[in-house]
Symmetry: D2
Subunit: 469 residues, 4 copies
């Protein structure tokens, strides 16, 4: 049954173990900081038109529609782009990422079943049915803490540095370890755990995929400090919109068999990670294109407020911002137009997905650079909102902060530009844009791995074969 | 009637006035240099599957199919990409550019007719019928010589620095002036002249579009020196494949009325230039994506020949080359997917077209840089083909030029890399990639002009409107 | 008399008007935030070897040594670099910027005196003597609030948008207006006001330079919120080291004649701004080279902690960071080696100063990008210091955060990397590095203005003159 | 005895074995192509002020002055810069590179002698005396052909892919192999052979340094085709100025002991290569700064000719060109200011040398890009000199090529811009600027190898040690 925001928020009061800044959080829906992330997620459940009529499952969230075609992928791109716009430029992940994981699991489960005669696909589809019918909020925990990057999982000095099976029981498995960067885990209903990387046989205990509810015994979330809002009375958009990441601990957590989706089939760990990454980077370029509108729009307003709208260097930065946004959109659309169809499921074209994802990782710094250059040093040195609220000071600030627009307007614009380009959020987003959904190195590998070099090599071989020497 | 290569070549023996390196050229089909460009064009008339069955005009060249839809534009993109691959990575322009001009004229003619009750569309369609039925090779002369760039056409010290009407007669007009950068004019049947820029009323005599045969009285072509082949015995691909540009002189040339497509309607000069630019940049990113395969393929072969295929910096350059090629393809495909439909004709989306065109202008230097870095200094200092042919020297060269492959193979590969990255062709292509079909500045203008900034501004206005200060 | 830290701090309790986050600050030396900036400045007064024996003024601060030669400039570069290193990579401005201003005033005062028979140099030298003998802390207020950037001072809608003379009295002048970006004004003893830009005759009331004590009647400081520490319990270096900027209001402030250094000689406003900018950019590249060590050192430690020290992309980023640091040092040293000697004072070579300053503005984003890429997404999502302090959580965090080094060590390193690359400080420093001491546009103008193009033009003219055509 | 140009040219008629385009060259001083390179070198012997009075050797070339101090290195930088300017922006290598090698040999010879009690330094100093007293022209052959880059010298499939000792005799050694990229070898008197890389014990037969006259038995030069002039009637500067590289074959060449400077002391191969590289990169940034004036000057003239001198994008490119030139100069000057003094000889600071060299390798493409962008597509499509010489065509060309300057002037300027940015020379220089005197990778290694990271690490360790967690 589709849920509303209230039902979703109520479902989070389930005894989950969450820490924030060194303190246990009793109720994430009332905690001064985490509740903002919870309410942001809740808004997703209140969005218009968010459901569609599925022939098998009835009215369910559009996020869970299994893509079978170009059109399905285009719709998914638009859904993510439009929802990010709807929620003020900030991504709202709690059904997008879960479906990214489920689609990948559907493909891999079928492949494992084919090879080993297992029945993973049944488990995946039952779990999928449970999720879509109950309209759940999901998080995906993929990135292991990884220890020494130069060593494989089973070579680490501490065996728990990648999540692993520590006990096999009749009714399921017991897992131990930790995942980092889990987005919105503390406000999700279900957490899906996927392997992070390709593995070798020695890593087989690490080749495991499964799902647990957020309040499962032994699951603990240590939430990052959300300083874009917490401690920052100058927050603008971050007053209402952010998501939280956590270090997600699995302290000897039991998983029943029907929620285990990969178990020691080590050669499928890499493919599963790769399919998920491909879906999730498609999601990434879709939401990032929308998020970049915050920078583009702020740059336009700031340029106008400063009276430099037509300055050539301003136009050059605006062009860079358009490039940034549109290369991501071009990537998403083209990835949808030329999908892989694997096990009956449409996967976004990995080359176009990774080309645009890499562009997005590499060039966000330019977007920030441009906005700072346009706005001026004011965004680092301007008075706080409290100063502006003090009438004694406001008479001066309002008078002296005017530009080609009046003081109040310019103050308002610059307050938001400060948040985007000269605040904790800036540092957070820079890091996220460079690393989230895979670093630049990861996008390069993804791109080269699937690239058809033959066309180019054949051409050159043909040309040089004609050379008489 | 569709023509074959022989018929096309014969048609060029028509008394046209062509100069090459200070000498008049009697017959372009036998001239040692220009004939290479002519034969390259002739190959287009011998290409398989080059025709389609048009309901109105019968079997005609696919290049002339008027785009009405996304699918037509996608087909056009593929046609240009595939033909460029077919012709060894070198664009073959003689029907592509003419159709770019004709489609633009169809749109503008209808607009002028609507405003002024003129009958330009009839003329354009009759001319179109003449061209397609006779399967003609075409050139487009658009870039005026321009004199002082800071002055408008009518402000120039010499009134002929933009092509203009110098006499109006009962049966037509007389035009004077010169156009630069006309590609393949000396081996085309017809030359279409389009205005280069937006104009003001004072420029009305310059607001003129028309077509003349290449052998019209008063038309003279001064061809650029094709040093990528001429004087270069080390040419590889350029031995068979290049196109020539010319300075195209109009020395008091008469144009009958039925070939005049714009005449003093100065406010349409800009739009006509802009529509043509949009079509032609779509053409550009389509052929350039194919041409870039020469660099990508050569980089792969060179890396392998040097034994450095897996070196990280090599992979980084390969990634840059993939980005270069695929962002152009993404741009073309997305431009086709979201076209403007104007006067019933599908125009490639100008934003995506210009985004990818700008990327292509700005980053070709990186492609060359990468190929040079991978290949090594050898491409500047290696012995000539004549040295390799001299057995006394060859024993040494072949022995010492070996890499991770044998000497002959590496010599062959490096000969072609030299042509691509360390020769006259390099200089020529760098210039072409930066300026042809519009400079970076032109792409930026094209992009900003059509961009919908409202979405981003509305978003930011909404966010900041919530700020209480 | 040279002062110690205590005497300096005591001197700040003088009734100055300072606001922080909407509240008046009684005593800047005890205010929880501003006192950090005050103590940072105080440390300068406790530094070893900070004095030298001047033949005219006795034991005075090295910062005030008037540069007469290459060696003096080299010493000044080293003083600034070394002090920035001494103070943990953070610039300590309170005598550097004041001396930058005084040296510029010495040059310009002499020029004005020569032209007009005035006696500004006497005033400047008397003020200089007062400053050096009393070992004062100084701020310079140069950047006007500027209103609409497309208008000159006297064309602004509000006449106070550049600081101006509003009354001329027998004993001095009354000034009104505001300056933005005044660094350490609230903890300085003296504030020097300089014109921001070149002026025309209509701007003559804006062509004014003068000095006032920080507690002068009508002077008010509105301090920026220092969120790098304030509200951020994860601060590392910012716990002890930062400087504050303010919006500095002049509400009808009286300045006696002996502290007026330029008065309506409008044609000298530009030169004065330019000399100060040149000195101050020399200061900038000197301290920035030191500050960049924080990023370089953190990158090295983070790479080692992650076990990726020898990864090629890591080495590439390290190379970028070395380039960043050393191009600034090269610029400072070369600027000292080829100074202008003007009115007997050595001015750093403006070309080398601006070349290195521009590099520093344009490439700081790359330094941040590199550190983020090396460190990983952890810096955005890692638990807070409070979490680490909670033993219940620490057992997990310490276990799971280990890399190629133990958990405590990696946590410590990554805490500081978070501050540098993923925090409010990141946003602040990005803005400062792009705009402080002049934006990229300003550096370009400074570079072109003084460049000797003749050498290059003569060479090319000579070469082409030989061409026979 | 110092020689004049005539004596130098005469000395080249010595029976040396030289091939050009597959043919043996009897006399390099009369060969239509190689003679241009010879005359360019001859000009060095006719330069004013080229000698200085050495206390030990009398009047000798300034190039051979052994650097002992900062001042000596500054003088050497200026000598190379000024001579490159004197010779129209083209480097004149024949005494610069030889002295780079000799200085390196002096340092290493002493080190080897100290370790092994050998007498290499005597040999080096005797050879040096011979060279300076006879005022010889020299080439250095360092780059081995290298075969498979992933293998060491002794692991190559063919043992001759690095130059090696094949026989040891009483009176000397016999060497075999080949070197690539030897600049001006065919017009030098002496060729010095240096090892290319660090070696291991198995490579000992490859650890060899020696000198032979250019006409030694078994030495053969296969010269690259100089297409910047050969076959290019549009050459401007290349009509008189270029240098030639060769593949230099050693076919069982005998070297007497007094010309053997390293022999199987394999652990010194790397240091010798490294010292030579450091000297030679210092030479490189010195001449390249001068060469870059061609681009800067051409850009200025072209911008003016086009009437776009003050366009913002033009100014941005000019700024890039200034940065390019001045960062090299800053590097050279700073490298001189902080030299290593090793065995009594001053070595340019390797960090500053490599920082500026890397900048120079990486950014030459931007200089070319800028010049092309400023000049316009004309440089690719403009008529040839022969066209301009034909009066029938010239009337049109001269009329239509005018810009903000008259036709003849603009034609002249654009002819040279074509050579710089759209010709064979462009491809050649791009390759040279990226690879000559060491590739980007080589500069990175050189920079990191000598870098003092301790300062930065100590700083960060100090900061984080204060963190209480």
């Amino acid at each position: 049954m589709p849920r509303g925001p209230g039902e979703y928020l109520d479902s989070l009061k389930d005894g989950r173990v969450v820490y924030y800044r060194g303190k246990a959080v009793n109720d994430v829906t009332t905690h001064p900081i985490i509740s903002v992330a919870a309410k942001h997620a809740a808004d997703l459940f209140g969005a218009e038109d968010r459901l569609y009529d599925d022939p098998n499952y009835g009215k369910i969230s559009r996020y869970f529609k299994i893509p079978r075609s170009t059109n399905d992928l285009i719709d998914r791109h638009r859904l993510i782009y439009n929802d990010t716009m709807r929620f003020d430029g900030m991504f709202n992940i709690v059904q997008a990422i879960g479906s990214d994981a489920l689609f990948s699991l559907m493909i891999i489960a079928r492949k494992v079943d084919t090879k080993y005669g297992t029945h993973y696909l049944d488990r995946v589809m039952k779990y999928y049915e449970y999720v879509v019918k109950n309209d759940l909020a999901m998080a995906v925990a993929q990135t292991d803490v990884k220890g020494d990057r130069s060593k494989r999982p089973h070579e680490q000095p501490d065996p728990d540095l990648y999540v692993r099976v520590v006990e096999v029981r009749d009714d399921g498995i017991v897992v131990n370890g930790a995942k980092i960067h889990t987005t919105q885990g503390p406000v999700a209903n279900e957490i899906v755990f996927l392997p992070y990387r390709a593995m070798v046989e020695g890593d087989r205990d690490y080749a495991v995929a499964f799902a647990v509810p957020a309040n499962a015994k032994g699951v603990k979330f240590i939430v990052r400090p959300a300083l874009e809002y917490d401690g920052n009375p100058n927050a603008v958009n971050a007053r209402a919109r952010f998501e939280v990441e956590s270090l997600t601990i699995l302290d000897h957590v039991f998983v029943p068999w029907d929620r285990v989706f990969l178990f020691r089939e080590w050669e499928f760990a890499g493919p599963l990670a790769w399919y998920f990454a491909t879906y999730h980077r498609f999601t990434a370029v879709s939401y990032r294109a929308a998020t970049s509108n915050l920078y583009l729009g702020a740059a336009l307003l700031a340029a106008r407020a400063n009276g430099i709208e037509n300055a050539p260097h301003v136009r050059d930065w605006i062009v860079q911002m358009i490039m940034y946004k549109e290369i991501m959109r071009m990537g998403a659309i083209t990835a949808a137009l030329e999908p892989l169809i694997d096990e009956g499921v449409a996967v976004p074209n990995p080359v176009y997905t990774n080309v645009s994802k890499l562009y997005s990782n590499a060039h966000f710094v330019d977007v920030v650079h441009g906005l700072i250059d346009i706005a001026g040093g004011l965004i680092a040195t301007m008075p706080s909102h409290d100063d502006y609220a003090n009438p004694e000071e406001r008479q001066y600030i309002s008078k002296y902060i005017r530009g080609a627009v009046d003081g109040d307007t310019r103050y308002r614009i610059m307050s938001f530009v400060r948040e985007l380009a000269s605040s904790h959020l800036t540092g957070y987003l820079l890091t996220a844009m460079i690393h989230a959904e895979g670093s630049e190195a990861a996008s390069k590998i993804g791109m080269i791995r699937e690239y058809n070099f033959k066309e180019a090599e054949d051409l050159v071989n043909r040309v040089i074969s004609r050379l008489r020497i």
